[in-house]
């Protein structure tokens, strides 16, 4: 306590301007009445109070001041420090709670709500292709159809460019995948011709209506035939790209508004993060 009070006293005294510091013209003009100037009187009063607060003598009545305040300066200081401690403690508590909540939502989003499930489709060589065949590398999924007028070609060209950029930036080859939501017209042979015009590594998957429905449900993809014609119709569908990590879990999705550059930046970022936490992933690769 002694140390505390002397420390406080020291702080207060250094905070008190000495009278020699005052060089204001108004004050020096009335130098004769200087000692009785309001400024000095206030200073004296303040020093008096501080002395009273800091001294351990019991309160004494003196003209006009009444009784000493019940709260001593030490108590105030201790109170403030305790208050600060409580605030800091509660902030830390809130932060950890929030972090935990966010982690849980991320885990749920990654595992339960989108993707991360089994699907069985057919590749362009008519061989079965399942979700397990994508494991080991990042994959970018896009749902569309070959008779698509403008959007699918645009999006697939974007994917092709983005995937090449990621390879240039990180050395890692992301697997682009096109899944047809038009099982009536899109046979493996047709999809083969279609995808090879966009990128040599673009994988094309098809399936019967049930399999397509199942995989669409997994990724919350909407699709619906438009028009009455049996042969010449369009398929309305959600325009979204889904990024899957090497363990087959959904990572994030990209809307149509993403440019090839944005896509590449985000995917490269995900590749780096994965490499940082998975030393077995492309062990010889040096990522910046």
């Amino acid at each position: 306590m002694r140390l505390g009070t002397s420390l406080v006293r020291f702080m207060l005294s250094s905070a008190t301007p000495s009278t020699s510091y005052i060089s204001s013209p108004q004050l020096t003009a009335s130098s004769l009445a200087f000692n009785k100037s309001p400024y000095v009187q206030i200073l004296n009063h303040r020093n008096h109070i501080m002395h009273r607060l800091l001294s351990s003598e019991p309160a004494r009545r003196s003209g006009g001041w009444g009784q000493a305040p019940p709260l001593s300066f030490q108590m105030l200081l201790v109170g403030l420090m305790a208050g600060a401690g409580v605030l800091a403690g509660s902030q830390v508590y809130i932060d950890t709670k929030m972090q935990k909540a966010m982690q849980t939502t991320q885990q749920v989003a990654g595992k339960a709500s989108v993707g991360g499930g089994a699907f069985e489709l057919v590749d362009t060589n008519n061989k079965p292709f399942t979700d397990k065949d994508l494991l080991g590398e990042f994959a970018l999924l896009y749902f569309g159809f070959t008779f698509c007028p403008d959007i699918c070609p645009e999006e697939l060209e974007k994917i092709a460019a983005a995937v090449d950029m990621v390879e240039a930036q990180t050395g890692v080859k992301i697997q682009p995948v096109f899944i047809s939501v038009d099982p009536e017209r899109d046979t493996p042979a047709k999809v083969k011709e279609y995808v090879k015009e966009f990128h040599p590594r673009l994988l094309g998957l098809t399936g019967d209506l049930e399999s397509i429905k199942r995989v669409s449900k997994l990724y919350r993809v909407y699709f619906s035939k438009t028009g009455e014609s049996k042969t010449d119709y369009l398929v309305d569908h959600s325009i979204i790209h889904y990024l899957i990590n090497p363990e087959g879990e959904f990572v994030t999705f990209y809307a149509k508004s993403y440019t090839a550059d944005n896509l590449a930046t985000s995917m490269s970022e995900n590749v780096r993060k994965w490499k940082a936490s998975h030393p077995d992933y492309h062990p010889t690769l040096k990522l910046t």
Partner: protein
């Protein structure tokens, strides 16, 4: 274009897009708002035919609808901008304000 069994290749798509753009430019130059189903102005009839031959019917319909929606949007925006302009102009010319 009658519906082929093979999906349009990249080349076919480019030809379709070009024919589409040529036709739309024609009607735009005439200041006409071409709506699906409306009569084709005589100057653009040939271009319309090329357009319809180069693209699948479902595509022609799709592009026409898209075009109409875009025209509606831009007209709406113009209206909004012009009305805002008038509001502001009123304030600047010292008209009595309520």
């Amino acid at each position: 274009m009658s519906s082929p069994t093979d999906p349009p290749s990249k080349n076919t798509r480019s030809l379709c897009y070009r024919a589409r753009d040529n036709f739309y430019k024609c009607v735009e130059d005439l200041g006409i708002d071409f709506k699906p189903g409306s009569p084709v102005p005589s100057q653009c009839k040939v271009l319309r035919q090329t357009f319809e031959n180069s693209c699948l019917s479902s595509w022609v319909e799709h592009f026409d609808q898209q075009r109409e929606a875009e025209a509606r949007k831009s007209k709406f925006l113009h209206r909004v901008i012009n009305s805002k302009k008038e509001e502001l102009a009123g304030g600047l010319t010292g008209k009595p304000q309520s």
